[in-house]
Homo-oligomer: 210 residues x 2
DNA sequence: TGATAGATTGACCCTATGTCAAGTAGTTCT
DNA sequence: AGAACTACTTGACATAGGGTCAATCTATCA
């Protein structure tokens, strides 16, 4: 071990722990232990407790870290910068497909931990609630454009879109059943289109892939 | 229980362990330990190992136990005894809604454990694969009746129905978002109907969805 | 020079799973 | 009756991992 021949002042230890934790999570088949994370981040196990309250705290922090790392802000502006509500929805499905893959393993840990861990549950739910709120905005916009099938209220539609595009279904369809990412995007979009959207009014061109 | 309060010869210990394990799982907020299960079943902790290979083995066995307890055989014949494929699908949604609630907590444990436990994964996947196969039969039947929208192959439709009616989405919609069980049934059915089924030939002229 | 913040080291406790060996109590076989 | 067998108990032990504590080290800053 280098045993701190040079110090790590330039890279914040906390960040390094998070980075390596994520790395381990993505590469390993199972949940990494604190000892493993510490070793990979080249710190002592105890150092983790200097930066996070406990194991859950680390994983909760990981959620935000990953969001930033993956540039979720940019993704968000791509999705919500769409010219129409319908196109926003399409981009949502498209983007979720990619994003969910990137964070799949982390997601599994958080979902699994939910059962016995309050802090983890809170962190996860917080994230998901934001997502849900965003989607309500989308379906309301679609409704405003007169494109929401009148079988649904915006809230109902948002709930369904939210649920269907969650990590669970994504994992099932792609990882277990074997759909490709493209198939996932196409078919989920088709499902939503057929069930929730009306045919555009005359003059308005149908939404085509840009 | 027929008499004999002295010893437990009449009730199979294995069954009792499973019964109490399920009971604990449903009533407790968190995953019960082996010690808790043993105590509630009135056996020593070690006795569990006489009946199950290990912790995972117990939970895998629990899946079958619960199926039998809930009369899943009867449910199955209700669902698949439907006169048409479309009605089979409707009954599927209806039944899953009820059944999933009954086994919700157990499901959570199995899903959570999947991440680090092979045996648990195998047990769960085995169960889910059977479900998937059943659904393929249903969508094929629907296709045979000419009621499957030609946007979908029976396999694609089955995959989607399977995924949407899995425990994850059910839990999200009812437990977290707050849909009632009836709302769940209605709306999921509506979603599937609008996206996958054609209007029956006999009677009204079909409204083409372009 | 000394104070301080960030880490380290190593010992320790706790919980829970899993394993082992020896013992006990009913049942059945002969 | 006695032997053998089955099901279970008791208690000890090993191991893993999370979480805590106290003492120490070291770079940097004033």
């Amino acid at each position: 071990m280098s045993s701190s021949s040079s110090h790590y002042g330039d890279i914040d230890t906390r960040q390094r722990i998070l980075a390596e934790a994520w790395d381990l999570l993505e590469e390993k088949g199972s949940e990494p232990t604190l000892a493993e994370i510490a070793e990979k981040a080249d710190v002592s196990r105890q150092a983790i407790y200097l930066h996070f309250s406990d194991r859950s705290g680390l994983f909760v922090a990981l959620v935000d870290y990953v969001d930033v790392s993956l540039g979720s802000e940019k993704l968000r502006s791509y999705v919500f910068g769409a010219p129409t509500g319908v196109e926003t929805l399409r981009r949502w499905v498209e983007t979720m497909s990619w994003y969910t893959r990137k964070i799949d393993r982390m997601t599994q840990v958080l979902e699994a931990g939910q059962y016995n861990d309050e802090a983890l549950t809170a962190g996860w739910r917080n994230r998901m609630n934001r997502r849900q709120a965003l989607l309500l905005g989308v379906t309301e916009r679609i409704a405003g454009e007169g494109r929401l099938a009148n079988d649904w209220t915006p809230a109902e539609a948002a709930d369904l879109v939210y649920t269907i595009t969650m990590p669970g279904p994504w994992r099932e369809l792609t990882r277990e059943i074997g759909w490709t990412e493209d198939q996932y995007k196409e078919r989920i979009w088709k499902l939503l289109e057929l069930s929730m959207l009306t045919v555009p009014l005359q003059g308005e061109p149908s939404v085509e892939i840009v």
